[in-house]
């Protein structure tokens, strides 16, 4: 028996077996509705990918499997766009305007926004306030908005967020993940995003701080928001360019993926269409499957480390040298590993 913070109490073999059973009819229906981007079905599927119970673990595997088996065009892989930045840079309003612009410029695009806010260290609860900044259109299924707590006590934000992106990639063209602040968890965002944007305020005097923290290397794209006046925008652009130069980050287009800088004002609706054209063009690029595999491996290792520590990690490294040792979905791999490591752990 394994008792972990995932509330998994059954044996891993039993769970693996249950996973092989057919997808329940109500889930098939829910997936069909979610494919049409109906709000509540999408939301309920997301909950399955967020919640920590055995039933949800099994359902996650079954849903992913089902979605993977969809033929051709129906089997989509949406792009994940990570948007991070300092508090007060106006990310929520900018994302609001960006989404409205994307919707305006393309009739058949679908977008999901996942806005992440920190949980309280005291109560574990969270106040998720990103919805207040923009009122999105009602009953437009092309746009879906979801708030998520970083849930520090339940295994870290990135794992739960990663699970949700696995689902959303199968349902939407563009998945925008919004995180607050600049810190460890924001660097994590890069791990699950195909493209990362850093949103800054004009003339933020803390640019030097970013460089020290090595943050400037993280984003693929810089957005200076709140450029309400042209002179301010120009000045900020110059300052950012020289900061990047100091940090030896080059903007020239000889690099395989040159970094871009956008100047926007969400309140004055300036520069939004240029940004949305860029995001749209990024979304058209085919998502790198190797990147997805690396991502999954990263989160598998991360959760192993969280649950079993260095010892677990060493066991995993050793075992994965055997060819095809761990196979299938992330859930299967986790359980396969749980089965292996239980051999090393004394039963209570």
């Amino acid at each position: 028996m394994i008792k972990s913070h995932n509330n998994v109490t059954s044996s891993s073999e039993a769970l693996l077996q249950q996973m092989q059973s057919a997808l329940p009819e109500e889930l098939v229906q829910l997936i069909d509705q979610a494919k049409a981007h109906e709000k509540w079905p999408v939301a309920r599927l997301i909950s399955i990918f967020e919640r920590h119970t055995e039933a949800n673990l099994i359902a996650r595997h079954q849903i992913i499997n089902h979605l993977n088996q969809q033929p051709g065009q129906l089997n989509k892989t949406g792009m994940v766009l990570g948007i991070t930045g300092t508090p007060g840079a106006g990310k929520s309003s900018l994302i609001g305007e960006l989404c409205l612009s994307l919707l305006k410029n393309s009739t058949d695009i679908s977008i999901a926004v996942l806005a992440i806010d920190p949980s309280s260290h005291v109560s574990g609860g969270a106040l998720l306030g990103d919805r207040t900044r923009t009122l999105f259109p009602i009953n437009d299924n092309r746009l879906f908005f979801r708030s998520q707590a970083s849930q520090l006590d339940l295994g870290g934000m990135s794992k739960q967020t990663f699970h949700v992106t696995r689902l959303l990639r199968k349902l939407f063209d563009i998945i925008i993940i919004e995180t607050v602040g600049i810190g460890q968890s924001e660097i994590e965002v890069q791990r699950l995003s195909d493209h990362t944007c850093l949103v800054m305020q004009p003339l933020a005097g803390d640019q030097v701080q970013f460089m020290k923290a090595g943050i400037m290397e993280v984003p693929d794209t810089f957005i200076i928001n709140k450029c309400d006046e042209e002179s301010l925008a120009k000045k900020s652009l110059h300052l950012l360019k020289s900061s990047l130069k100091l940090a030896s980050i080059h903007l020239d287009h000889k690099e395989s993926k040159p970094k871009e800088i956008f100047l926007t004002s969400a309140t004055k609706r300036l520069g939004i269409d240029t940004l949305s054209d860029f995001v749209f063009s990024q979304a058209k690029e085919i998502v790198n499957q190797t990147f997805l595999q690396t991502q999954e491996d990263y989160f598998l290792v991360k959760s192993i480390k969280q649950e079993y520590g260095e010892f677990g990690f060493n066991v995993y490294t050793e075992l994965s040298k055997q060819e095809n040792k761990f196979q299938g979905t992330l859930e299967e791999k986790e359980l396969q590993f749980a089965g292996e490591i239980s051999k090393y752990i004394k039963k209570p």
Binding site: H52, T53, N56, S123, G124, G125, L127, G129, Q151
Partner: protein
Amino acid sequence: MGEEKKPHHIYNKDDEVSQDRPWIFRTYAGHTNVWASNELYRSNLAKGQTGLSIAMDLPTQCGYSSDHDIAKPEIGKVGVPINSLDDMLILFDNIPLEEMNTSMTINGTSMWLLSLYIAMAEEQGVDISKLKGTTQNDLIKEYLARGTYIFPPEDSIRIIVDMYEYCLHNTPAWNASNICSYHLQEAGATPVQELAFALTTAITILDAIKERDCFNEEEFERCVGRISYFVNAGMRFVEELSKMRAFCEMWDEITTERYGVKNPKYRRFRYGVQVNSLGLTEEQPENNAWRILIETLGVTLSRKARCRALQLPAWNEALSLPRPWDQQWSLRLQQVMAYETDLLEYPDIFEGSVVIESKVKDLKEKAFAEINKIIEMGGGVEAIKSGYMKSALVSSQSERMTKLVKGEQIVVGKNKWTDGLESPLVKDSDGGIFMVDAEAAQRTIDALNNTRAKRDDSRVASALAELTSAANNGTNMMAASIECAKARVTTGEWSDTLREAFGEFRPPTGVEGQALSIESETLDTVRAKVQTFIDQYGYRPRMVVGKPGLDGHSNGAEMIAVAARHAGFDVIYFGIRLSASDIVQSALEENVDVIGISLLSGSHNEIIDQLFDELDKNKAKESIPVILGGIIPTPDFEALHQKGIKRIFTPKDYDLMVVMDQIMDVINDQKSQ
């Protein structure tokens, strides 16, 4: 000043001290439709009242015509609906404008209402330079506490400056705006915050006027002289009267030092008051009569800092809409105070009091420190956009609630001496809320359609085009706006045109990062229930909190959101001014366990119907429970429960953790179904 005072001189009536005039007794009025309100005003005027204080309904305040979906539940509820100049002409029918002092509680659409008033005067052939009155027009406090803002802060300030510029030249006896600290106190402000934030607002406006450079020195002094205030007075009356003295001194210093105003007449702190309603209790409501009396002391005792106009709430405001008798009882208090006592016969009775002077000094120092801090941050507009002032208020409010729960702040009948005999006063009260019959609302909509049918559409189009171009090229918008009024543009059209030009603004909510320090057995119980829930279902209970409709009094919703996080919920806080569809869509997308909504405008019956219809359409009515908070009269409870509301919380439910415990029970009931 400079006058030698005899050390032990006792003042008496024969001294050469002119008797002070009594302050103005005001009644804030307006309801149903323009016909009913006109009748009310005329009957008040016939009784000798010389001024009008006009209450507008929420759609008018928020810039929607009465036939807009979001307007329908609110037509005529908290004031009179005004859709066009035709409505205005009926509202003021047979009321001599040149003799009136008309005060309008209007903010987001203040320029529009002033334009209508001026257009009306011009159509009636009244000399507009004779017009006297006030448009409230304090948008900073709207972002912070009252919620009837429309445009972004910079554009709102620009509108205010346009109005000051226009008024000084054309309607010199009109107060273009009225700085309000009243609502700040209701939202939790401490006396220091009240002083600092209100004076910051005045500085923000005067700085913007200075920057435009549209006045010569003499005109600017007169303009400063037109700045007036609307203040609150709470139960700690010694501190409150010190606050009022601090206000007067600080305003004198600011206008002298920052703006170089030489004429002392234009440096005088002119203010009106409504005493605190927030502290009035639903429990043992008869005690509120004493509270109102004590709150009145703070703004009347000091002659040096006496209010110019006073509005008192009724003793039963926390229960329901006051009856005429209840309002009369409050009016009598003012009359007894002004005419039976000897208060007005004396000069300032606190001059030289060491205690009062040191209290005033302390308040001034702290308030100036706060003002300087905000100015260093970039001023009032920046402190709105960054959420600094709003967070400070939410934080003060959380502290206040915590003290109440812990019993550190005693409120008689609420958290101490709670057992008492039943009040015979309550028995006869109708306990109802103000009802507007459907016919009266329809009459408003018919009049709106009639105006649309008979107006010259090409004149409307060109007036609106002029307004757009003035908005975009930065010229004063008053002329274009007055032409819109004359062309029979509607309230919705005027507002939409400027929404298009300026955009709409949703300010920071201030709730993020707020923490409560409540620790109690109930909290332990709730957290234990939350933990059991997490163990069983693998996630934290999720709740969406928002305010549907146009009523912007968000304190209650904010406190519930902060409390829910304290209890261990994941709370999605959605803010104010939402449609029923907005709330339902958020509940579906977030897949919440419970919806929490708050309503204070009396439109709960209509809005709850809309909400359940919307949930039903999405087949979620049986799956997502709804709880309701706000000013909800007890007689409405049964019908609301029948509609499907699971719990109703009123100001009586001040222990936030008891509320959370009940919400947790609602969630568990739903889960076990």
